[in-house]
Amino acid sequence: MTTAQDSHNRQSCRIGMEDCVEDEPLTLKSLDRLDRLVIIALTVIVVAGSLIVAGHSGQSEAAKGVNGVSRQAVVIISPEFDNKLKVANTLLSSGNIDKAGELINGMIEDYPYDGRPYMLLGDLHVHNQQPVLAMLEYRKGVDLNPDFLDKKAELFRGKQIKNILEEAHVAISSGLEKNPDNPQLKERLEILYYMLRRVAGSCG
């Protein structure tokens, strides 16, 4: 005589009505090769995850820094700041590099989270024909304000930055040819690659 429980068991059986059995409880004896591999993999994953979390927690706040790309731009809305930007631009255009540098460094000190002064500092280095130093400042500017590489944004300067990156690439490559183990050049090469990726664009 079929009981309701029997009917339920048959309906819940998914593999082979003729040999439907209830799931065996998972015990150490029932573990097969695949189970053991998974257990090893899970152990590795847990250890790796713990190390990552511990390593990240152990870092100082300064060392953690900004996670590279910021989504939102900080833009200072201040007539005085805008005026200083215009003056710095004018000084750069007229070749008054020293005064421009002084003004720009002052703006960076007063407004460290706006990307525009860093871009100006990069322009200053371009004037001084130092594309690598320019690249480093453009990186700071772009990280603070992605609009500089956004084709749809007013502040877009992607083409100019790309040209400077090409010059920086030449300079870094020739430096590495002479001194392949220079750690500073290697670090700058990584920054160059990062900037090239930023210029190429990405989702997010």
Binding site: R14, I15, D23, E24, L26, S30, D32, L34, D35, V38, A41, L42, I45, V46, A48, G49, I52, V53, H56, N67, G68, V69, R71, Q72, P146, D147, D150, K151, K152, A153, E190, Y193, Y194, L196, R197, R198, V199, A200, G201, S202, C203, G204
Partner: protein
Amino acid sequence: MRKGWFILMGAVLGVGALTLSYFGNPANTGLCISCFMENIAGAMGLHDNIRMQYLRPEIIGLVLGAFFMSLARREFVPSGGSSPLLRFMIGFFLIVGCTIFIGCPVKMVLRITSGDIGALVGLAGLISGIYIGLEFIENGFRLGAPSPQPKANSLIIPLFMVFLLVLVFVEPSFVYKSTKGSGALRAPVLLSLGIGLLIGAMAQFTQFCITGGIARIFLWGPREVLNCPRSTGLLMSLGSFFVFALFASILTGQFHFGLHGQPSSNDSYGWAFLGMMMVGLGSVLIRGCPLRQLIASAQGDNDAGAAVLGMLVGAALSQSWDLAGTPDGTPIAGQIAVLAGLAIMLSVGVLNRRRGYGIAPEYQAGLD
């Protein structure tokens, strides 16, 4: 089914995707399920990244194209009840894995065919994940056989897409639309919708699936796989996709060979590998890559619909919780998410196995 249809599938996908990126979609992102789901999530207000907010007509077109094709071919079969919550969760991690790599399997092929050799790491990860997933499948993994469902249940995803389509054209104030960033890079609406409809219809017709095609090589073996018509067809679609995308990228000037300076890339190759491994593993466990989940949900599969909703949540949280890869690398949260996702999927694999048994009936469909 004639082999020409499978070749046409790959051609439509490859040329269609490159056409979209040529006419305005982001570089190397003519069609990307994960990126576009992130855009849709942003447009719906599910995350706050102002640069990724747009109701991508491509996704809407994919689902509706598949829906109409399934109706026309009388292949709209309402089904469900096969561990939908698990599928929701795996769908979540599918998108997380894609965002770590900065692209779904479709975009992975587009990146490779645009010259990004770093994307090959993603391919290696995807293949590894598929292999691991098949180990579970061949050793008794099952999520339960689906059962017939009321038709109304299976209309939810298609109708949701119709609703989104209305929003695309009406543009109400509560739907966000990026004015800058990748969300602002978009092909014309009608072109996006049209190509999406075409790809969706063809994908339903040929049952296209990137991970499915690769999985069959492992299931059948390199020699026997060509004896199976369906396997041959899927592999032809994959090959055709690759070839046509490559030619289209060269012809449209979107081909830039190299490792550095590629769009939508970073140098976190290890995490990209693991992210795509998670995608491969999850895709096998729930029988389909992210594209396949959208297509299946359109033809009545409620379980795939649950996965699609999981994908949407994954897309939203990838942005809100900073899980996604960036040109700077993989954020710590993303690294933890990948490890957690792999651990969860492996646990699901172990806990849902019937030891001593082979491939469950629901995974045998199409293998005979």
